[in-house]
């Protein structure tokens, strides 16, 4: 077994600006965290707030696993800095189920089996929520456009589209 490496005494300065206080409103709750300015919203959610439902698939804005709602609009939280979010409302997958009751989109994902490994699922669901919030009667093409920035390597796409349409029907019945 390897022995501990003896490290030299820290002598160099940490690079870049130091930690700063940031106030984040996430799922209707206010949080104050202290992070370097380079910390992304994604890392702030996952590491500082422990909201690990938002996933990191690429950390460079190409997969959509980290999708959250920023003032109701879907954004890639890996391309958003935490310090940019002060004064804005952030919504993550953890906020969807209310009082133990699944959101109709979540229910539809289960019923249609619109997932396999489930890693991209939070992002898919939030992209669909953003769509249904502004377009309660989407066509299949509308749904496809809404989730075309959310990759699913398991290939649950056909059922994701079906789930979105089922959720739209359910939501319009409820309203």
């Amino acid at each position: 077994m390897a022995k501990a490496v003896k490290l030299r005494k820290p002598q160099v300065e940490r690079r870049g600006p130091s930690k700063t206080s940031v106030r984040l409103t996430v799922n209707d709750e206010l949080h104050e965290i202290s992070v370097e300015p380079r910390r992304t919203l994604l890392d702030a959610l996952r590491k500082d707030l422990g909201l690990t439902g938002t996933k990191k698939g690429c950390d460079e804005g190409t997969c959509g696993s980290c999708t959250v709602l920023f003032d109701g609009k879907p954004v890639y939280s890996c391309l958003t800095l935490a310090i940019e979010c002060e004064g804005h409302e952030i919504e993550t997958i953890e906020s969807l189920a209310k009082k133990g009751q699944l959101h109709p989109i979540q229910q539809a994902f289960i019923e249609q089996d619109a997932l396999q490994c489930g890693f991209c699922t939070p992002g898919q669901i939030l992209s669909i929520k953003a769509l249904l919030d502004i377009n309660p009667n989407p066509t299949p093409d509308d749904v496809k456009r809404a989730v075309s920035g959310n990759l699913c390597r398991c290939g649950a796409y056909p059922k994701i589209v079906q789930a979105a349409l089922q959720a739209a029907r359910q939501l319009s019945k409820e309203s």
Binding site: R15, D59, I110, D113, A156, K159
Partner: protein, 765 residues
Amino acid sequence: MPRVVKTQVEFEGRFYDEYVVIEGEDVPPWSAQQEFSVVGQPQTRIDGVERVTGAAKFTHDIQLPGMLYGKILRCPHPHARIKNINTKEAERLPGVRAILHSANIPKIPWRMGLTLLFDQTLRYAGEEVACVIADEEEICEDARELIEVEYEVLPFVLDPLKALEPKAPKVHESGNLFHNEPEIYERGDIQKGFSSADVTIEGTFRTQTALHNCMETHGSVALWEGDALTIWDSTQHIFGVRDVVAQALGLPKHKIRVIKQYMGGGFGSKNSAGKYTVMAALAAKMTGRPVKIILDRHEENLAAGNRPASIQTLKIGAKRDGRLTAIYHKSVVNVGAYATWGGGTTGPTRRLYACPNMKTEDYSVFTHLGPYSAFRAPGYVEGTFALESMMDELAKKLRIDPLELRLRNYAESDPATGWPYTTKGLRQAYHRGAELIDWQGREAFKRKYSTHTKKIGFGMASQIWGGSGGPPAYALVKINPDGTAVVVTGTQDIGTGTKTALAQIAAEALHFPISSVKVELGDTQLGVYSPLSAGSMTLASVGPAVRVASEEARKQLLDVGAQTLEVPREELEIEQGEFLNRRTRERTPVKAIFEKLENFMIIGRGARGPNPEKKSVNTFGAQFAQVEVDTETGRVTVQKIVAVHESGRVINPLTITSQLEGGIIQGVGFALTERRLVDERTGLVLNASLETYKVPTVQDVPEIVAEMVNLPDPEVNNLGVKGVGEPPIIPTAAAIANAVADALGSRIYDLPLTLDRVLTTRELP
């Protein structure tokens, strides 16, 4: 008494003889007429809520108090030797806790001894050089930039054919050909076969390197408590990770616990521990704190495996009526820098058609590129593309319908072994698929919908694969004092729905509602061994053990229930999770008896029995593709895929269609857009990101019609199930390539079917 049985086990198209221990008596298979209340019914995932609410904890999500992070420095050259590493500056950065590299870590053999955990010779761009451990990932990244490595850059070879030339740079001292010889298979007399042929055709096919791109990248978290090590690993094989880490660190296996509850895709790339796993364990020991190492997307695409590129030459001889007389198939596969087994592609050729004379040669060649790993039906996707393309060329030459040609060469018994199949539903799959796509009406459809520049085409391809599963696999079924049941196995649910299917089997055998059944898996500490979740073997291996354990638990429950309730045993049965007195029709909740028994727990044990002797167990299927090819832009649009597969009995019709659709969509990506690009001059991968490596998006998905031939296999195991994970990806690219050839009137021999290839291949009108 436990019995030791010698049995044949198949994995990824290869066969092994193994001794396995079988505990208890197997139960007779469910008959084809058996009526079920849970099995065979569409069942939503029992862990669906966790997966849609963000509650499911993946390896990425494990956060422990005091946890440190690790980031790996990787070699920027395809072939180099480390002359010197200077970590001075990096070590002085506040927050850096350790830097692991070849000078301070013992020599730990890796990849069958072909390299070391930290080797001084590096054999591909992206190979591990050092690992920085720090308080934050950002600090790891800063420190990584401060490490100075002096490399001696060495000559490299990327092309497998060049690597086989005598003067090529050597990837390994032992030579560039894996095992120093090709894998050769022969049957009959190939010379006679070709001389008796009326027609002979030949072609050379090339397939690309494809990257898995699981949404969750590879990674581990390691935690020491005293001399016991716990590892959370994004893996398809918890026991495999345990064994590799035990060997690497010289620890007894029982000191290591490996946990994997949820995993964001594997597709064959997570069948074992990674270097990151061992590095995390070493670093956690060195620092006395838990360590997490997660690969980023680029590292994933450089170092976490791939479907290796192939060059395949096929020669087929046939009689005028289409009967095959001989096949010669040579395959050269670029396995990259390391391989633990060969990367052959000729499996389908040996086993799909009744052809008496055959020779296949598989060359697995080392080059200075990222190492390959299994990728959903390794070799069979590539081999099926070549074989089924040639079958279509033969059909064209002989003016025989492609489906008819395949039926004329239908293998009634396994052509490689001569053994009968346990079941074979390929003929049903052909006929049902042809019906669903209106194969007979395709020429009329093409005439009606093709234009001058938009050509419609139809193509088909067949699928053969293993999927028998087999022992050893064990299960416990416990009945709790509250009247619920728990299935305990050492398998893992990699997203395929294993947990749900096992709950269905247990509920059926226990006569419990599925809502009363919980499934525990993904933890070596549970102590119940199960094999890796790969090779389409999970359900067919573990499911039968769960059934035995459930039947055993139900018997015990009836024994205990009859005595506690003071009714004759034969009058008692279990229905919907309650005791039912057959005579009085009186119902008693299961938990009622436990109230009299204090904390007694019933435990049923089950083992997977051996596979049938001298019988071939295979899965089969057929896919049909309808495409539109734009002859002005070269764009191929897959309009429709019809897929009909036979994998024995269907346990969950809901989740099985998810697997079929997922395999097909990955197949569409392989056919059209996915390809790792390497710069020939530098040996660097050019598209290691999801921006540039094109996996299918929702917009690329065709209409998919997917069905199973539900044909319970009476011999394979007590459930009649075979595997389904890999079969659906196998024929997709071949069917699409055949449809494109049909649309264009000429064939593209290389995958993917890119715009330039379509434009340069098409015959001018």
